[in-house]
Symmetry: C2
Subunit: 356 residues, 2 copies
Amino acid sequence: MTCTKKTRLPTGQARAAAQSLAFAPFAFWAAITMRDQGLLDALERAGAQGLSEAELAEESGLSPYAVSVLTDFAVDLGLVERSDEHLILAALGSVLLNDELTRVNMDFTRDFAYHGMARLPQALAAEKPAGLAHFGPWQTLYQGLAELEQPAAKSWFRFDQFFSERAFEALVPRIFAHAPTHVVDIGANTGNLAARCLGHCPQVQMTLVDLPDVLELARQRLDDEGFGDRVGLHSADLLDPDCELPHGADAMVMSQLLACFSVSQIVALLKRAAVAMAPSTRLYIVELFPDRQIHDAARYSLNAISLYFTTLATGNSRFYRRDQLLPLIERAGLKVESEEEQIGQGHSLLVCRRQD
Amino acid sequence: MTCTKKTRLPTGQARAAAQSLAFAPFAFWAAITMRDQGLLDALERAGAQGLSEAELAEESGLSPYAVSVLTDFAVDLGLVERSDEHLILAALGSVLLNDELTRVNMDFTRDFAYHGMARLPQALAAEKPAGLAHFGPWQTLYQGLAELEQPAAKSWFRFDQFFSERAFEALVPRIFAHAPTHVVDIGANTGNLAARCLGHCPQVQMTLVDLPDVLELARQRLDDEGFGDRVGLHSADLLDPDCELPHGADAMVMSQLLACFSVSQIVALLKRAAVAMAPSTRLYIVELFPDRQIHDAARYSLNAISLYFTTLATGNSRFYRRDQLLPLIERAGLKVESEEEQIGQGHSLLVCRRQD
């Protein structure tokens, strides 16, 4: 399976690709089982010589039957290759074993997305995260995150943090290039960005905006890290059109926040941000734009993950294309002062000011 | 996604293929939703001119958001292509819409295999069809088939019949080339093969061997079709090592039966067949051998479907490779008299006799 487009395939190839799609869930489970049951690991240790099916059975503790049925398909998937009677780890198998992004994405699918994704049709029809019902009775994922059970919670948080940490790392020096004294983090979540800002600059005051439960967790953590006296909390439901945002900051940040909102919710939120901003306030918007990725695989992944927003997070949001988001910023009374691409892990940074 | 092997991919391509695997279940649901919600159909009707996202929303009844999130990923999957502001049906999308094999396979995955497949690791570890628990408390699928609920039952039977009907069509004239007067169908199932044999030759007597419940359904159906007086029933649990098979037939048939048994069960069953066979009796074994397919996609599909046998049917069987099955036939005291490949839908026919 590859991420490249197949728009003008000959019929035979299109038919082959169609079977690959029809059995795509089989491919996922075969691949992750090859990893989780230690087969890829055993093959890596065996090196270029590889292992026979019998040796692989001994190494993995699986039966000869289990090894044969799994590895025959793994050869088709390109995880391993067969040379005479031996199986040898292929490049794709090595990536599944060793690449952190791949591991995070696969664990996310295994523990969280797989079961809910079956409700994609219902989610699209209703614009509700219909797949969430598999986990709890929540309107959106964000209401249920604190109650999410294991292993779903662990894999979701690792997935979420994998992408955001890389954005934060790139974002913090860019925010402090303008020496702000007061930074408002809108959608502060676990306080990871706040902790980085507070650690980066010993004078800065931070105000965290999020739901009360979420803020309480972030406050405890920032207290523990000794940042408590420079942290303000501003409890708000960002979906509430009447909620106000804190006024008068030098910098406001929305890092990977807008992907959690619908188009109309984004406009409403940005309008409230504009009201809270002084003419000199900068709003730092960080997003992952599928239409601004260098690699096909990155665009493919973002467009796939958008369907997780549909089915398991909000029902009405996504990784917006840049061409979808820019008009919303304009409509809210803001203008893009500067733009930088490919910071973090394929993130874009839009620095915005009030239009007036 | 394609079915070709990727054994020596450069790292970048391997990393891309890995993300495709990580999000493979997303790909499945996006593709089948494009089909089921009428988007592929609307695009086919629109022809080379295609449709805008707004037109597609109108045609499908989905919101502009739903259309945008779904079609952006569908472009990555190669189902549709984008030309300026219009979306146009691609070759792969056309196959998903119009190819019967693809439709049968996708429906099978959607309605039956998807949820159970998540228990592949447990099934492999225990050699039990652990995914069946999603549907009922059965030891094997065959015990539960009569109770399987909709839409799982409908999609499973269509899938099963799609493959077997094409084999039967090719098999019947080959059996009757030797003018048998008594044919024993081992694993007679719904009686489809029996009906074809009885219809093909007005003199032939058939004996059907299967579980009592299954035989009763087949008997009713053959009675209704007016074949009742030429049909004998032989109730047997083929897994029972003490069960005897009917003696003295000219021809015995095992069509796509051995894939439902483990290696040791196959040897035991074939030994009992050898006991029941006269020196002149021919045993017709029809199987789908993954290692004897012409097209990569066919081998890929068979190896995928083998994981359904593991997870949702028996826990210990598969589409055996030819090189796995031949020694079992030998070990049971049988010899292959003749062999024919690519009958039906990629099936192989082995005509066997007693070794003595």
